[in-house]
Symmetry: C2
Subunit: 146 residues, 2 copies
Amino acid sequence: MNIENLKTLFAQSGLKFTNQRYLVYRVMVEARDHPSAETVWRRVRGEAPAISLDTVYRTLASFEARGLVIRVPGNGEEGRFDGNPMPHHHLVCLSCGSIDDFTMPGAGLSDLPPAVASWGRVRDAQVLVRGVCGKCLGLSENNQPA
Amino acid sequence: MNIENLKTLFAQSGLKFTNQRYLVYRVMVEARDHPSAETVWRRVRGEAPAISLDTVYRTLASFEARGLVIRVPGNGEEGRFDGNPMPHHHLVCLSCGSIDDFTMPGAGLSDLPPAVASWGRVRDAQVLVRGVCGKCLGLSENNQPA
DNA sequence: GTAGATGCAAATTGTTTGCAAGAGA
DNA sequence: TCTCTTGCAAACAATTTGCATCTAC
């Protein structure tokens, strides 16, 4: 997304266009690893060393409120964010905390049972798989005594 | 579950049978509202006024590690726990924080796409729906100026 | 010019930990 | 008895907030 489009997007969302927001947004769109606020902060500081962590928190919160980023339902640790606007599902590693995406036909918003509609208004739906990723499984194998 | 069975269950899990664990377990099995640690604490204190909050945290953590309770993937607020051992899905209200259950055929462990198996070892899988529950929708309607 | 955004520091909240005393097996 | 568990208080980490300054519009 070029800068003009982004200015328009921010304006439509009622957000002023600031350098901090621009950088946070760019980091989020480029990230594939569902970074935490602090991780975003570290990345953004590469280009804006003076940005403060609370600005990153505030920026992510306002993005989330406007649907520009999504908060990944994690396992109770620190909040993780996702800049990918396409609906998708998540694999959470309980060992290293990594979060990966996957897709699954038949598990979209339109596939939810009717009972959900009577519950209230749905904002998003996803499958959340928890387990231990292959990398961590390999590590624990290597740690076994020979 | 009667006390003898529970003693056996704890013993099999390598847990000593203590009054605190007994009470926490009972609260969790009876709860339908996916309580937070502090909510569990408040309920348990009805019968054991001297129990401390950190004991509840430790107890829930050891139960979770042994699969006796499940941590509900929430939205970044406080941890919520579920004593229902049957696989099921969750509806999370972003307004009041309530968590409800629902069931959905075709969204169980056996329905996950093959790509998930190559990711690693799966511990559990669930559909997580976020939105605003009917009660909160009603409240916000009532709050509208006439 | 004005409302909204930022940086700093302090406060808040949820959760974990060290340690000494207590209780289950 | 001996290890595991508990309570207390202190420590911790993630996130939020008050306020003065600054900036986009």
